[in-house]
Assembly symmetry: C2
Homo-oligomer: 230 residues x 2
Amino acid sequence: MELQLQIKMNEKLFVRNPEQTELGRKIIQFSIQLIQENGFESFTFKKLAEEIGSTEAGIYRYFENKHRLLIYLTAWYWSWLEFRVTFHLNNISDPNIKLKKLIQLLAANVVDDDSTMYVNESLLHQIIIAEGSKAYLTKHVSEDNKDRLFKPYKDLCSLIAGIILEYNSNYTHPRSLASTIIEMAHLQVFFMHNLPSLTDFGESKNEQLVVEYIEDLVFCSIRNHTSRRD
Amino acid sequence: MELQLQIKMNEKLFVRNPEQTELGRKIIQFSIQLIQENGFESFTFKKLAEEIGSTEAGIYRYFENKHRLLIYLTAWYWSWLEFRVTFHLNNISDPNIKLKKLIQLLAANVVDDDSTMYVNESLLHQIIIAEGSKAYLTKHVSEDNKDRLFKPYKDLCSLIAGIILEYNSNYTHPRSLASTIIEMAHLQVFFMHNLPSLTDFGESKNEQLVVEYIEDLVFCSIRNHTSRRD
DNA sequence: TTTTAAATGATAGTATTACTATTTCATTTA
DNA sequence: TAAATGAAATAGTAATACTATCATTTAAAA
């Protein structure tokens, strides 16, 4: 059985839907490659066009600018991850196991899963770690948010918050804890590789240690939690 | 008594020390204002020069490029914050109180403290929240790190990690928890104001709720912690 | 099969950004 | 008073971030 995963993307994320044409798919494929290799700052539509064998103007027919393309990629990633999480958590009732699987899915390295041929999920995961927060750290977050560009991120966050409440319905900050889990799963991996003294994982470069740290943080917090204030 | 706080900055952060000349201090003062107002992306040396009444080339004599200026500002902020933390925690022995004061200093709004006339600490704090992570989220983190540009951040992290161990010497991830506290103190505030559904603080826009969340997270975690794994 | 529309490619052009080189002017020091 | 040093202005260049036009290819509809 070979299934093709199609993620329905918000229309406002693009000028023309890149999934529907050969050039569009190439834009996604090669932008992931280029951003991962050289970073978002040095990434330009000119370089991308050269890589693809198209023109700058050609790329602009699909995306308003490179920042919109980054938002598209992050939105795609969060949608894909939510699907993955839902899939892996299917039929599991124990919220304890759910949360552990979830943290694993967030912090562990991603293997390109061939569910889409033009998206390399492993590279995309690395982009999210290093560039993901630049999607919302702008002066126009609020407008972008009104256009629902961050909906996939918020949906994933809600999903996680729900599981936290399943585990302990008295927990007072399910959504903040959910966004903390997501962000820390990425940031601690980034720190481990690039600014290791900000972590306790030294030079081990082992994502599994990040998983353990976050599990520890999360479970200590929600296990011992009652609604009282101390 | 009127004291002038002078922070000794790493020489590699600048081309010429901005603290020592009138133009240099204006660069710091007005870059903080401009970045806070319009965001780091739209900030250029040209605009800054116009604001100051100098020229683009004049700014380049102080800073290699705008990213270096951002690193300078963040380094200054972390140094200032470490001083502030050390000052406020002086003579307190109870690590419980220390941690609470610390979280308060990190997440609560900053009031411009007039310790330096050309740095508006309140605006700078807002810059750190929205732009701070862009200082290290680059392809050249590792080289910048070798030049010790992030030392002030790492020093603050160490300081916090030390207090965590004072509280509970069995805690296994003091440094990761320290960087988590720092980052979340900022990110949850950013989310609260711009993507509120990622938090539990809704439209309250009250930094004190972020303080409570982080306190809760931290103390639950280090209070109940023994070195065993579950 | 023809018609028509959509998508692409090629070319050119503009405004802004990021940065450099050169010269001028002022100040210090010998 | 001359030489050396440093600050600032001027004038550039190369790259970036776009936009516009038009010819051509490709795909869908009649």
